[in-house]
Symmetry: D2
Amino acid sequence: MNAVRCLAAALLLSTNAVAAEPIVVKLQSISDEEVLATQDRWCAALVDISATYRSEGQTAAAALAGRIIDAAYGYQLGTVLFKPTLTVNPQTFRTTRAGALSYFVGGNPDFPNDTGFALNDWEKCEHNTTGIFITGNSASTMGKVHFTDSEGNVTSVDKTWTFVKDDVGELRIVVHHSSLEYTTE
Amino acid sequence: MNAVRCLAAALLLSTNAVAAEPIVVKLQSISDEEVLATQDRWCAALVDISATYRSEGQTAAAALAGRIIDAAYGYQLGTVLFKPTLTVNPQTFRTTRAGALSYFVGGNPDFPNDTGFALNDWEKCEHNTTGIFITGNSASTMGKVHFTDSEGNVTSVDKTWTFVKDDVGELRIVVHHSSLEYTTE
Amino acid sequence: MNAVRCLAAALLLSTNAVAAEPIVVKLQSISDEEVLATQDRWCAALVDISATYRSEGQTAAAALAGRIIDAAYGYQLGTVLFKPTLTVNPQTFRTTRAGALSYFVGGNPDFPNDTGFALNDWEKCEHNTTGIFITGNSASTMGKVHFTDSEGNVTSVDKTWTFVKDDVGELRIVVHHSSLEYTTE
Amino acid sequence: MNAVRCLAAALLLSTNAVAAEPIVVKLQSISDEEVLATQDRWCAALVDISATYRSEGQTAAAALAGRIIDAAYGYQLGTVLFKPTLTVNPQTFRTTRAGALSYFVGGNPDFPNDTGFALNDWEKCEHNTTGIFITGNSASTMGKVHFTDSEGNVTSVDKTWTFVKDDVGELRIVVHHSSLEYTTE
């Protein structure tokens, strides 16, 4: 329950008489602060999966990744439009939870090209957001995300996310397009 | 699960390869047909409560009304802005589920003026909708609702509803303003 | 242009390089502060029409009312679901600009029962908002509005408004349901 | 004016009496058919710019591209989150109209790496949409777009678009992320 709903709930404990301050409920409404915080959590989660893989192995990493997908993405809302950085035809788009999980941690024979992006020993993940476009009940962001591994190598990607808010007030990723930087070299 | 989601789910059982037909998910999106069907259900529910009261008494009617409120209104989303037809100051607005239930079936000492609107032997309920305004993720309607009791007396009210769609695809009333017709007589 | 758009415009003057702070555009997104300010303006506008009528007559009041309707309501968006306080059948609902203008200032033979609500010598208009429900790209409010005339008489109504934001960032009323208080006396 | 608004306008010509059929206004609400039609127009526009360049030169192509951007993108709404296929750091993201125009037709010294993507002699442009996610007042799509030049060479990109509807009922692109296909070869 987010802060706004907590406030609303507190007010609802009082009487039905006209209140001095109006009850305010913000349903399906998204702020830029919420978007930035959700991006931070996505980065932290990726690093967590890497750390879990190092210390506990693939099974534990896959279990954690599954919980993160269930908490952060919107597959249960119908689908997610997910184009990961490193997928190839004919499995470029991962519109199912199984396809997303395989991309992050590999190990699924139905997706034989997946090696597990989250298993690449990532130690740091940072986003540098160029813009946030809030339409009311959805918010899209675009920018760079920089991944640093344990040897200090940095991989930078161009990333677009679209978020919606579910009935309990949590943002969910419903669009995710990631691509390696284009270079003329 | 509504028709659109069923279709999406069926498509998701197929592969992640590019599909001939795109997956279509409609989240928080409302059609005028859905709005009219929801209004029909509201009317049918009111008549049901009346019939249950006649045949089984107030306790059974209250239990049914509670289930209907939980299914049709959005109190669990934070609040509902509900101005029933016959409430008086200082309890005009019913922003809690308890206040709504009391209005429909009475019997709550915290709302001493409520006699139970749904207990008035209603045999027919019809809506005549003047307009539907769909903003994307909410829809408002305005029009007349006509209630006919067992003796053929008709009560007409002016009614405004605003609906949102929850995560499982059901419309929920989040605004409900009802008023007796103004007359210069 | 609202504050958020001003900020966005200012940032856009800089380069397309990744900015330290993201550009933030909030389209069709509504805050509770905006809603309360819009209600204040509605009240001030009503008192203005009354004052103009007293000092300059019906023609000037009608011209002002027309400008206010064009600025505050959403008739140009398709329609407004408007149930004024004192309209009667078969012209209860005012889904056209002409019907709204006639309600506020009268003088239209197509609406013979209208005497002009805004011409009633109002000196004060206050709203007491019970709740605000923001769905993302629309916001609804419910509460009391109290009108005080030059002799100190107060008329209180129960009022519901739904607002959307147009492309230039202004809130517009698309639903307006007003009704006299119900009383058992 | 789209079909729904035309219907609403026609109904508004009738009286304010309760109508047999409700007025229906769909503001900021997007259908999958509208999305697919808009994508078709985008493809047709790109081929048009190429043809204009061949027959009339860069100045005419740039003028046409400017009109297309103004009609199809949402720069006037605040910004567009645009990551074109072939841009490079530090000008990867094109959040201004000038940056978008330069990408399509080149010729702007402020964007020295742009050669004009739309000038590549494109004869055919087809989209193959994997999914459409409609949130109510915005719609996102993801899929492949295939560009064929006059020698039959095909360039395929992964593309994400997010659309909103403006006040006159036209869809506008507010997010556009395009990237070359990743390959392990």
